[in-house]
């Protein structure tokens, strides 16, 4: 009989099947003289539950890659697949369903609905999800239960971003995509947001991809992908993940 340790070793020896598979992804904006190549022939595999950090300067193609993986943008060529969902060549309705059922987004500028309260912003997503958690639970996870009845304009930036995280996770997404989630925040507030994201990744097993300029955040990742000029120039596995509290910048 195999022991549980052996089982674990076996699975480590045979890496799980990747959930995201991208091959030869390219994205070109504009045409003629004004043509800009945002992504060049990118190959990528991401496994279930992985915490990925995308690092790179402005214009390196991070957001384009994230948007394609999130079903917000279509590549000019190449293919991208999440499990059995073909993300390339899918129509608007399919992509909407994909986002609705599987993807949670967190953006640099929060993108909360100003006319809905904190709890309603979270519930808005719960309303359209098939197996959501209680909005209160999601708020608890980001430490904001006491602000449930406030409106976004009454919250600080960090609080608004944590609401955005709560909104992203309430549907129990398979994928959490964060584009510069701390970009508009100070260090202490940023840590709170990162802690919330890490907690979701750890507790719910959500595959998480975070874009950042800030290389310090890379310490939290399982794997760091460095982009430059539209290509993945370096892939760094990180065996020693640090917690959000220990991130320094």
């Amino acid at each position: 009989m195999q022991t549980s340790e052996q089982e674990a070793e076996d699975s480590a020896a045979q890496p799980p099947v990747p959930v995201f598979v991208a091959r030869g992804l390219s994205k070109v904006y504009g045409s003629g003289d004004s043509q800009v190549t945002a992504l060049k022939n990118v190959d990528l595999d991401i496994r279930q539950g992985e915490f990925i950090v995308l690092l790179g300067p402005s214009g390196s193609g991070k957001s384009t890659l994230l948007n394609i993986l999130g079903g917000l943008d279509a590549p000019t060529s190449g293919s991208a697949k999440w499990r059995d969902h073909q993300l390339t060549g899918a129509g608007d309705a399919e992509l909407t369903t994909y986002r609705r059922e599987h993807v949670g987004f967190v953006f640099q500028f929060y993108n909360l609905i100003p006319s809905l309260s904190v709890e309603e912003n979270v519930r808005l997503v719960a309303q359209i999800a098939s197996d959501p958690m209680d909005p209160k639970e999601a708020l608890e996870l980001v430490g904001l239960s006491h602000r449930a009845r406030h409106f976004p304009s009454q919250l600080s930036g960090g609080e608004q971003q944590r609401v955005a995280v709560a909104r992203a996770i309430v549907k129990r997404p398979d994928i959490l995509l964060c584009d510069e989630p701390t970009g508009a925040l100070d260090v202490d507030t940023g840590r709170l947001v990162l802690a919330a994201i890490a907690k979701v990744n750890a507790q719910l097993g959500t595959t998480t991809i975070v874009i950042t300029h800030n290389s310090a955040i890379a310490g939290m990742a399982d794997r760091v992908l460095r982009l430059s000029g539209g290509r993945i120039v370096k892939e760094e596995p990180n065996p020693n993940r640090v917690s959000a509290e220990d991130v320094q910048w």
Partner: protein, 788 residues
């Protein structure tokens, strides 16, 4: 070098082209209606004035039975009188092979040496009669056209009971017959009424009037008292059977023309002003919101160091460009429509020249109003933003006081899908904006109603006048009073279903210094073919003694039930009586005095006679009836209701139809403009929020629901509000004319409310489709890159 801000003006104009086009359309509609209507009215007035001036339309008129020509010299001695032109004018009857309908007419003598001094003829076709050929006549152009009379064609005229052959050598227009109409017929009937002008010798000998006259046209010296001159005329002509002197106000063609012009004035001045005013208000709302939506840009320009004045100038250019574009389109459309509409008046208003007139002040004023309205709106919005510190203005406008709607959290949002909560909070949280855009949509409805109202008013007038009051199918007038024998004779005709006699005599009402010339109609008790009615359209019985007055006359003479009025009969023994007003009737077309026929006979000191017969005719046998009537003696003329109605539809109906369609069309354009702009600006302001909803997985339909439900909420309030405002404005327009002799009733058919509402809903639906297309093409990625 080109100013960079000016480049922004051009780029902004281009990038917002669809929205700006809809605003320009709104301006264009307002300007076009204004220019078209005012120029129609001015054209008619202008044509009338120049016709009257060129053809020397007389100021005063008088009739007698027979006065020797020397009396004319005595008239010339009256203090304040100018030119005096005696003539012979008599009713005649025309015989035509191709119709059984009696054609009535009037023959007027022409001086031997050609043109009369007053009421000169404007020759349209042919030539002047040769004095050596007394059989040559000129006829009125309207009849010539209606009956396609060729020059040189013979015309058989019954003069004084004798048939006489004349030959038509010319057709002409006369200021006396801009509307060629007999008294007691409210509409010109060009096919069945003719005016003949013949040499005075021919006319005088036919009527035994050598060296005498029975009609006189005069001018009055400027500054003289009309009342005094008329009194003197009456005094001097009384011994010769004077039928009362009168001024232009009582001249049938002029009175009809004046009423028409008064109606046109309402249609041309008041309504377009309201229309244009509403368009200017909507322009204000729409432009205000458009500038508000550029809040971030204004703040950035300020932050970069641009002075408020420079920024204001920038928006001035932007907005002026839109207003000028709209005005230009409006001016072209307005002028184009005016030419068309004025052209359609020609069949109705017989003037030598009737061309659309465009006065420069009108074009300048219309343009100026739209430019000023647009800039006022822009300036207010720019100012509101410019007074804020740039840092504050760069942030989005403070969200509304949402706490006020906290109840929606506890009750509503558990039950109602959250996209509707977003819509509800946005709508309720910005009450001023919501109210303004609701009023904006609401005001589009009266604009459509204005158009539809004319159809309703005309339908109502036709229904009341021709189905409920005048219930006969045809009317016969007799050359002299007839007795009940004639009634029996008429009733006995196969095809005549009913017949009634009426006694119609010209009268003059006097109350103090005020007078009013009209006809007194004597009806038998229980008359079925003419049924006077009250406001509620209930029949009013004819008083056995005293008189019943049309409301128009009562209000003009300030008479009430129980008052006494003096009546001068202008025929026969010229009786003068004091009679009591017993009832007031609500006639819509025409205004008359109604009496019991035997009471009127008594006033006339005559037996039970009549001079008009009203008939109900079996439509299947009408030709037979008319062929019998044609051979009856003593018939002077006839009028057939069906002919009036088709004439009415061809002329007034056609004119109103064009005007109403233009109004309704523009009203709808404005409705689309307002609703579309409302939606478009909402989209522009909230693209970020809506894209956010799309990203987190709401479908296009769910996201559209946010904006669409906001618009639907506004529509739900705006439509009833708009209908109420429309009703109120129409009542206001109708009451503005209440003192005039011809009143347009404030009648709006329920179907008009429905149509106006449906048109606005259709406009909204078109806007929804445009909104949906915008939402479908929202660039989610681009939206994410900006803060707002």
């Amino acid at each position: 070098m080109v100013n960079v801000l000016d480049i922004k003006v051009v780029r902004d104009l281009w990038s917002m082209r669809l929205q700006l086009l809809s605003i320009a359309m709104l301006v264009a509609a307002g300007v076009a209606v204004f220019v078209m209507s005012v120029s129609n009215y001015r054209s008619l007035i202008g044509a009338m004035e120049s016709h009257y001036r060129n053809e020397r339309f007389a100021d005063l008129f008088a009739g007698t039975t027979r006065a020797p020509l020397v009396i004319a010299d005595r008239l010339r001695e009256i203090d304040g009188i100018g030119i005096v032109e005696p003539r012979v004018a008599k009713p005649v009857r025309i015989i035509r092979e191709d119709t059984n309908l009696p054609i009535s007419g009037r023959i007027i003598s022409l001086p031997a040496d050609g043109q009369p001094l007053l009421n000169r003829l404007h020759l349209v076709q042919g030539r002047w009669p040769d004095p050596l050929h007394p059989e040559e006549v000129i006829i009125n152009a309207a009849y010539a056209e209606a009956r396609a009379v060729r020059m040189g064609e013979p015309i058989e005229v019954v003069l004084n009971g004798r048939l006489q052959d004349f030959r038509v050598v010319g057709s002409a227009l006369s200021p006396e017959f801009v509307f060629a109409t007999r008294s007691a017929v409210p509409l010109p009937d060009d096919r069945n009424f003719v005016v003949l002008w013949a040499g005075e010798d021919a006319v005088a000998s036919a009527f035994d009037m050598k060296g005498a006259f029975n009609d006189v046209a005069m001018t009055i010296a400027p500054g003289s008292s009309v009342r005094h001159v008329l009194d003197e005329l009456d005094r001097l002509l009384a011994p010769y059977g004077g039928t009362g002197a009168y001024d232009r106000g009582d001249q049938p063609s002029h009175r009809f023309l004046e009423d028409e012009l008064a109606e046109q004035e309402t249609l041309s001045i008041f309504m377009p002003s309201v229309f244009f005013g509403i368009a200017a208000f909507l322009l204000n709302v729409v432009i205000g919101r458009m500038v508000e939506a550029q809040r971030g840009q204004i703040a950035s320009l300020k932050a970069l160091g641009f002075a408020n004045g420079t920024i204001a100038l920038h928006y001035f250019k932007l907005v002026t460009a839109i207003a000028l574009l709209g005005s230009a389109v409006g001016l072209v459309l307005g002028c184009w429509f005016a030419v068309g509409v004025v052209g359609s008046y020609r069949a109705f208003f017989r003037f030598p020249s009737l061309d659309a007139r465009f006065e420069p002040w009108l074009l300048v004023a219309a343009t100026l109003v739209s430019v000023v309205a647009a800039n006022l709106a822009a300036a207010t919005s720019v100012y509101r933003i410019a007074v804020l510190p740039p840092a504050e203005a760069m942030r989005p406008a403070t969200p509304p006081a949402l706490q006020t709607f906290a109840w929606l959290q506890t009750i509503g949002s558990r039950v109602i899908p959250l996209q509707y909560i977003i819509a509800a909070r946005t709508t309720l949280g910005r009450p001023i904006r919501t109210v303004l855009s609701t009023i904006g949509i609401a005001l589009a409805i009266p604009l459509i109603l204005f158009g539809l109202y004319w159809f309703d008013a005309i339908d109502y007038m036709i229904d009341v006048s021709f189905s409920r009051v005048e219930r006969g199918d045809a009317f016969l007038t007799f050359t002299e009073p007839v007795s009940t024998d004639t009634l029996h004779e008429l009733k006995a005709l196969p095809g005549v279903l009913n017949a009634e006699l009426q006694r119609v005599v010209p009268v003059r009402l006097r109350v103090g210094y005020r007078t009013y010339r009209t006809s007194a109609i004597g009806l038998d008790p229980g008359s079925e073919l003419r049924v006077p009615r009250d406001k509620a359209l209930q029949p009013i019985s004819i008083p056995a003694d005293g008189i019943m007055l049309s409301r128009q006359i009562a209000s003009q003479l300030d008479l009430h039930v129980g008052d006494t009025v003096s009546i001068d009969v202008l025929e026969g023994a010229r009786a003068v009586r004091e009679l009591i007003v017993r009832r007031i009737s609500d006639d819509i077309l025409g205004s008359s005095v109604t009496m019991d026929r035997s009471a009127l006979n008594h006033v006339m000191r005559e037996g039970p006679v009549a001079n008009v017969a009203a008939l109900r005719i079996d439509p299947a046998q009408s030709e037979l009836v008319w062929s019998r009537i044609k051979s009856m003696p003593r018939i002077e003329g006839s009028s057939v209701k069906a002919l009036w109605l088709s004439l009415f539809n061809d002329t007034i109906g056609g004119m109103v139809l064009i005007g109403a369609l233009i109004l309704a069309g523009f009203g709808m354009l404005i409705a689309i403009g307002v609703v579309y702009n409302s939606a478009r600006i909402a989209l522009q302001e909230r693209a970020w929020e809506l894209a956010g909803l799309r990203i987190i997985g709401l479908t296009r339909r769910e996201v559209s629901a946010v904006i669409v439900s906001e618009l639907v909420a506004e529509l739900v309030v705006a439509i009833p509000l708009g209908l109420l405002i429309g009703r109120y404005l129409i009542e206001l327009i109708a009451s503005a004319r209440a003192s005039q002799s011809f009143q347009i009733p404030a009648v709006i058919d329920p179907s008009s409310y429905v149509i106006a509402s449906l048109l606005v809903i259709a406009a909204a639906f078109a806007s929804f489709i445009m909104v949906r297309r915008r939402i479908d093409t929202l660039d989610l990625v681009a939206v994410l890159k900006t803060r707002d």
